[in-house]
């Protein structure tokens, strides 16, 4: 590895609103953002609950992903002190804006097939190409006037973590000096309906990761942009790094198309890779883990065993929490939003709790920071994510 990777800026939005302060008052206080969503008719589904931001001063136009990404990107570049014209790479984790698919077919159904077939010019199908993941990266780069290469990762719940890992590889190998990494998901009916059909959504309106009575996940709004930069580049322009990315890893379970490996094998492998790269193969210097922690029966036990396998001598002494208990599952955006949350934990010296934790589960036997934040002097933290197909990612952040 030839170059240290630093973080010099971020912008973030969630159901709590825009920016870090609302995350501090929500995620770091252990206050869940779940409420019956009014963004679409939830009547056909088993639950109306999601962590979807309400309309109000913070709302982005039409709840369109392109606008939310723009706003976060502008905030991230401002914080980093980078201006338009920067040759930064743009690496995005997103599945496309599904609302454009719904809008298209709803319009076709209401207006008849002829209108649907000729839908290119109609106002009702405006932004039909926002369903294309790569299109959103192009729009973000154009809006921020970033001239570097761009690539969109579409691998579900590790997509934005994969984008960050790719950026780390590009920067550490000297191919790129600056990368703007982003991820976005805003609650909408297409995905909500699919998760409902898969019976993945929580039955009691809460997400209770690692708790004995956990019954599933709930979806949440999440959009974030982080600026990654080589340490040399940041130093030359006088930028102050917020943190460095000391290690990264990615691995696959080779087990099932939709369920995690029961022993968390791929997650353990990804975490070990990241720790080795960070020069700490045993996790001796690790102070906190931001877990994937979806609150599903399958994930949380497997993840616990995977973390135990990754650092067997230290697992019981490292606090682990799932911030999906407050934000909901942010899908493609989970990696980058939880990266920001982990960064805030390091800089603020506070562990965000696992909210909704009511009862211990024998198969989940680590310190999950239940329900209340905890002050801690943190230097290094690991954030992990997992996805359909057995994909796993791990990132180690370090405070300067």
């Amino acid at each position: 590895m030839s170059g240290e990777v630093t973080v010099t800026g971020f912008g973030v939005r969630s159901a709590f609103g825009a920016g870090a302060d609302v995350l501090r008052r929500g995620v770091f206080a252990g206050v869940p953002a779940f409420a019956p969503t009014t963004r679409f008719d939830t009547g056909p589904y088993r639950t109306p609950m999601a962590a979807a931001a309400p309309d109000g001063p913070d709302a982005v136009e039409d709840w369109a992903l392109r606008h939310a990404l723009d706003r976060c990107g502008t905030e991230a570049l401002d914080m980093a002190g980078l201006g338009p014209g920067t040759g930064a790479a743009v690496l995005l984790g997103v599945a496309g804006d599904h609302t454009s698919v719904t809008r298209y077919w709803r319009n076709a159904a209401e207006s008849g097939p002829a209108t649907g077939a000729g839908a290119g010019a109609g106002a009702a199908v405006e932004r039909v190409a926002d369903a294309v993941p790569a299109r959103l990266a192009e729009l973000l780069a154009e809006r921020l006037r970033l001239t570097g290469p761009r690539l969109t990762f579409t691998n579900a719940c590790v997509a934005s973590a994969a984008a960050i890992i790719h950026a780390c590889r590009l920067i550490s190998s000297g191919r790129t000096e600056v990368a703007v990494c982003a991820g976005g998901y805003l609650v909408e009916e297409e995905t909500f309906g699919k998760f409902d059909s898969g019976r993945a959504l929580s039955r009691d309106g809460a997400v209770r990761p690692f708790s004995a009575d956990r019954s599933g996940l709930l979806l949440g709004d999440g959009v974030a942009v982080v600026v990654l930069e080589s340490a040399g580049h940041a130093r030359r322009r006088g930028a102050r790094p917020l943190a460095s990315v000391a290690g990264w890893g990615a691995a696959t379970d080779a087990h099932h198309i939709a369920q995690p490996h029961p022993e968390g094998a791929g997650l353990a492998r990804a975490a070990r890779q990241a720790l080795r790269l960070a020069g700490d193969p045993d996790g001796a210097a690790l102070d906190y883990v931001n877990a994937h922690g979806t609150g599903t029966r399958y994930n949380d036990g497997a993840e616990t065993r995977g973390l135990r396998a990754a650092f067997p001598d230290r697992a019981e002494s490292i606090p682990v929490s799932s911030t999906k208990s407050t934000t909901g599952h942010l899908l493609e955006a989970a990696g980058v939003v939880e990266f920001v949350i982990t960064l805030l934990a390091l800089t603020d010296g506070v562990l965000p709790p696992t909210a909704g934790f009511t009862a211990s589960d024998p198969e989940c036997d680590l310190d999950y920071v239940p329900n209340r934040p905890r002050p801690a002097d943190l230097r290094r933290a690991l954030t992990v994510n997992a996805a359909f197909g057995g994909a796993n990612t791990a990132l180690v952040l370090e405070r300067p």
Binding site: R127, P133, T154, N155, H255, G389
Partner: protein, 273 residues
């Protein structure tokens, strides 16, 4: 759409070796079309069966250590057949089909491939409006710098489409003259290339050609994100295995493919200079 310059993204730092290539088409009207392979748990769409088919061919032809293998799948739009089917059911008030939930992301078929071939290296999928060959080869070059990886399987998948895809391509190409797909709605294309570094059993090497010369820019006649370049690469690979020699693959950043014997002679010549 802003197009990247060649020098920004395409140059391979080190040569790659091609271990195997595979292509599969379904419902396109081409002579090579195959019946859609049956893939347990995947329904209605050609996306996952074709992705698995080309992966299977490469990984069966050249078995290797799955713990040192990564996989990258490029698809501009993903599985649009599944997305449209699920959406149309939803807006017409029908209940969702859980199988469509399971296969909605390319991760699912990658997970199936990983299980069948014991692949535990990184697997991921990307979407690009530019040339997938360029992106995937650059990605493989980067990944193979990881000392924990020896092989990268890259593949591309593209489906035919109906009215929504036509509208979508019209919007994507509104400021240009690139064509929209002419594939029937049920058609699908997939191509895969198994890559390593030269000398690890690879029969053909790939190097970056002069990136600043003629041939830079968007490939003429290709639609955004077209995987035709992967088919061209597979064809060139087959010809080189049969005939030897070298081929120039003129993409936005050109690549030179050289059969192993020529590559060895070239290395020997350089060694004496």
């Amino acid at each position: 759409m802003t197009t990247m310059t060649t020098s920004e993204k395409t140059v391979l730092r080190s040569p790659l070796g091609i271990l195997a290539t595979a292509t599969a088409t379904h419902g396109t009207g081409r002579d090579e079309d195959i019946p859609l392979p049956r893939l347990p748990g995947f329904v209605e769409s050609a996306f996952s069966p074709l992705a698995y088919e080309v992966s299977r061919q490469c990984l069966t032809e050249r078995p290797g250590d799955g713990s040192r293998t990564a996989v990258a799948l490029a698809a501009l739009l993903g599985d649009t057949t599944t997305a449209d089917l699920a959406s149309r059911r939803m807006v017409s008030g029908k209940v969702h089909n859980p199988l469509l939930f399971m296969q909605a992301t390319p991760n699912s078929v990658l997970g199936h491939t990983s299980r069948e071939f014991g692949i535990t290296g990184q697997m991921f999928s990307v979407s690009t409006l530019d040339d997938p060959v360029t992106e995937l080869l650059a990605m493989a070059d980067l990944l193979l710098e990881d000392p924990e990886l020896d092989r990268v399987l890259v593949l591309g998948v593209e489906l035919g489409g109906g009215e929504r895809l036509a509208a979508l391509y019209r919007e994507l190409t509104a400021d240009g003259d690139r064509p929209v797909p002419g594939l029937p709605a049920s058609a699908g294309l997939a191509a895969a290339v198994l890559l390593g570094r030269p000398g690890a059993g690879a029969t053909v090497t790939v190097r970056s050609a002069d990136a600043s010369g003629p041939g830079s820019g968007a490939p003429a006649g290709d639609r955004p994100g077209s995987i035709q370049g992967l088919f061209d690469l597979a064809t060139a690979h087959r010809e080189l295995l049969r005939d030897g020699g070298s081929r120039l693959l003129p993409r936005p950043a050109a690549f030179v493919l050289t059969a192993e014997s020529e590559a060895r002679n070239e290395t020997s010549t350089h060694a004496h200079q």
